[in-house]
């Protein structure tokens, strides 16, 4: 069982070799965004070209540094120098790039993005001066795009597991909880419940088996920061889970990811495996009496699986349908055992909070919103990407300064925040602060951090249709108000986008929405009217124009539309060659 000091010494030596050894270190982001941009092909080209040219380099696939708009980003660090980033590199660009920067020692123009590090590189701008970097405060994302997500020693070299070591050797579990409470950290999964307080509920339960569940369902379109953390720095999440386990007296953790997201799943599993191999998971962690196990579990495609009780059903292998509460998870969770459920981001803050102290964390942010928010910008925006910003920045700072506003100088028309169940805001809301209370007072939520931007070319009704279609598609069907209500709402909105809406539709939608809010079992149905409610609040005149004048202000409506429905094609379930199945089942035993 290696001690922390032994692990750290080994990690430091390896880091020294990487950054100041005898060969350049090349990093390329191949998270989902990097893959979509062509990063995988660039990595192949880098390896091939380096070999063909006889250049000795280390090539690492890393997560995403956040500036997705510049991907594929090739980050080359020569021994002892700063990192130089090249933007939008294609596989074809690679030979010339390596030839000039590594063979001829010249900085190629055109593709240079900037440098990052203490030593300036002539001819390249400092990334740290760009608003996309300068306005950030990277806590949970401190390693994203910098350390390899499949090498635990790179994490340890950057102070990884120092918080765990500190907690295990210097702190009692109650101290860890107190730090979390004092930090003011609130859950980043949507409901913004204080994380430390949630942990303290679990402490009170003396059951010998308790679970810490990590929610990486992240079905919200527009948000990719949870998957991003798993792909960029899964170790920080593993350490967060360990801290939660130690603080609450739990011995089991489950990281729960949606089937099909291969990158996040593979990287999470690799991180867990390496933690076991180095005595950071399992029995007697770091030579102490603390025992903790983590496994990665998968769900099928289901948005509602992200709801905390539905998630427990899915882990148990059932349909992911929410349970009624009480009993609450801290009393009766997965397999009936006391459980604590946190979002990936909430847990990923824990290591830095424990290492640097509650005071440090709570000094960042505003009002009752402490620390940072990890926002994902997408849609009509010049610099889409994910950014970790201190709470309290205004939406305008985030969208216009960091995001650069809509491309080609168009005006912002609409913002969609907090996932489909969140809400939309208009351009006049740009002075609102990123603050849980301020956002919800405005009729939107911060939720999981997705901010989708639409410019004046977008029809608010058409976008509402897609949001409502999503909510209909994803209703788990357990309760009637949500299942039928969502279907009705979609029918109304579709009718309006076909320019066949009727004057009574708006009032009828309100009434369906009220029933859903009052009668649904979980947040999905309770909030299912939100996309329409918020759109009506800010863009009611758009709806009226569609209904009364049979006209769409942007011309996007009135055409045939595609709305995927959550219904199985009848032919698939009831094909004629299906034979009755004979099997000894429980029912017939």
């Amino acid at each position: 069982m290696p001690t922390y000091a032994e692990l750290k010494a080994r990690a430091d030596k390896q880091w020294q070799d990487l950054t100041a050894g005898d060969r350049p270190w090349i990093r390329v982001g191949t998270a989902l965004c990097g893959q979509a941009a062509g990063g995988v092909e660039v990595v192949e080209a880098l390896k091939k070209t380096a070999e063909a040219k006889g250049i000795k380099v280390t090539v690492d696939e890393v997560g995403c540094i956040g500036m997705c708009y510049a991907e594929p980003l090739v980050d080359i660090q020569k021994p002892g120098e700063s990192r130089l980033f090249f933007k939008n590199v294609s596989a074809d660009d690679v030979p010339a790039l390596l030839e000039s920067y590594l063979v001829k020692n010249q900085i190629p123009t055109g593709k240079v993005f900037g440098y990052l590090g203490a030593k300036p590189i002539a001819g390249a701008p400092n990334i740290a001066d760009m608003p996309q970097w300068k306005l950030q405060n990277r806590i949970a994302l401190r390693n994203a795009g910098t350390t390899a997500p499949d090498d635990i020693f790179q994490y340890i070299a950057n102070n990884g597991f120092a918080a765990l070591n500190k907690a295990l050797t210097e702190m009692k579990p109650a101290d860890v909880i107190q730090q979390m409470i004092d930090s003011g950290l609130r859950g980043r999964g949507g409901a913004a419940f204080p994380t430390g307080t949630k942990w303290s509920f679990l402490v009170k339960n003396t059951s010998p088996v308790k679970y810490i569940l990590c929610n990486c369902e992240e079905g919200d379109p527009g948000a990719y920061n949870d998957k991003g953390i798993l792909e960029s720095d899964p170790y920080t999440l593993v350490e967060g889970l360990l801290l939660a386990g130690y603080a609450t007296g739990s011995s089991n953790g489950i990281i729960f990811v949606r089937h099909g997201h291969d990158g996040p799943i593979d990287r999470a599993e690799m991180a867990v495996k390496q933690a076991y191999e180095n005595g950071l998971l399992g029995k007697n962690i770091l030579g102490t009496s603390f025992t903790f196990n983590i496994e990665v579990a998968l769900t099928g495609d289901s948005y509602v699986a992200g709801e905390e009780t539905a998630l427990m059903e899915a882990i148990e292998g059932h349909r992911s349908m929410p349970r009624s509460r009480p009993p609450f998870p801290a009393a009766f969770g997965v397999w009936g055992k006391p459980s604590n459920i946190n979002n990936v981001k909430s847990l990923s803050y824990a290591p830095e909070i424990i290492l640097k102290g509650a005071q440090w964390f709570s000094s960042i942010g505003v009002n009752k919103s402490k620390g940072t928010a990890i926002v994902c910008l997408s849609g009509a925006i010049k610099y889409p990407g994910w950014y970790e910003i201190p709470m309290g920045l205004s939406l305008s700072q985030v969208i216009n300064v960091i995001g650069g506003g809509p491309p080609s100088g168009k005006k912002v028309k609409l913002l969609q925040t907090g996932g489909p169940l969140g809400g939309v805001l208009d351009a006049n809301s740009l002075n609102i602060k990123i603050d849980f209370e301020e956002m919800s007072a405005a009729g939107a939520i911060l939720g999981s951090g997705g901010i989708i931007i639409a410019d004046e070319d977008t029809c608010a009704v058409d976008l509402t249709r897609v949001l409502v279609a999503f909510c209909q598609y994803e209703s788990c069907g357990k309760c009637f108000p949500c299942r039928l209500g969502m279907t009705h709402l979609l029918e109304f909105v579709e009718r309006i986008t076909k320019l066949e809406g009727r004057p009574a539709d708006l009032a009828m939608m309100e009434s369906v929405g009220k029933n859903m809010q009052a009668g649904s079992l979980c947040g999905h149905g309770q909030l299912g009217f939100n996309p329409i409610r918020s759109a009506l609040k800010f863009f009611g005149s758009d709806f009226k124009m569609h209904i009364e004048q049979k006209k769409c202000p942007t011309g996007s409506c009135g055409k045939p539309i595609i709305s995927p429905r959550n219904t199985r094609p009848y032919a698939e379930m009831a094909r004629d060659d299906r034979q009755p199945i004979q099997v000894a089942s429980k029912a017939s035993k």
Binding site: L32, Q35, A36, A37, C68, Y69, E71, E218, G219, P221, G222, Y224, K227, H259, G260, H261, D262, E295, V296, A297, L298, T299, G300, D301, S302, E316, G317, H318, R319, S320, C376, S378, G379, A380, P384, G385, Q416, P420, G450, I452, A454, T458, L463, V466, A469, F470, Y473, E474, I561, I562, P564, E572, M573, R575, R578, Q579, A584, S585, K586, A587
Partner: protein, 166 residues
């Protein structure tokens, strides 16, 4: 008959192996179905039987789970799968056009399999690379900033390549 039986037995064996060799510790109805889906790309009737036997549950329980999650299908998939994201971000930047033109190009009226069974088209609520929207995936590899033309080209390329291995 014999031929059909042999291939059925071979299929059953593959399914049993997938179910009994799961690498994740918690084994459930859902995890077993996912293992089958990963192995052969769909959930045939024999898989329902085998999962029910293996997990000691009823056929109804297994059907209930299999028909709930939208990533399970019950007929063999085509050789390749193209998914198109219809999430709001992708929608805003042109997903509808990508979907419509792909459907036209493949001779489909909705998501489904092409007549030659070389390609399955699926719609996805979010492929997780919204910053690169519009996004499609071809056999699980993501492609961002796609135009309708590029999407059709990528689909054709997959169609012409050999069968994919599950």
């Amino acid at each position: 008959m014999t031929v059909a039986n042999t291939s059925n037995e071979a299929l059953r064996e593959r399914i049993q192996k997938a179910i009994t060799h799961q690498k994740r510790p918690t084994v459930t109805v859902l995890s077993s179905l996912l293992a089958v889906q990963d192995e052969i790309g769909y959930i045939p009737d024999v898989a329902i039987e085998e999962v029910a036997k293996f997990t000691d549950t009823t056929l109804n329980d297994v059907w209930g789970v299999a028909s709930f999650y939208k990533n399970f299908r019950f007929t063999p998939p085509s050789a390749h799968t193209v998914e198109v994201c219809w999430g709001p971000t992708c929608h805003l930047v042109g997903a509808t056009k990508v979907m419509t033109e792909l459907m036209g190009h493949l001779g489909l009226k909705d998501e489904g399999d092409t007549a030659d069974k070389k390609l399955t088209l699926r719609f996805n609520t979010c492929l997780g690379a919204c910053s690169q929207a519009p996004v499609i995936s071809v056999d699980h590899h993501l492609w961002g900033k796609v135009t309708p033309e590029r999407a059709c080209k990528l689909a054709d390329k997959a169609r012409e390549s050999g069968p994919k291995h599950h």
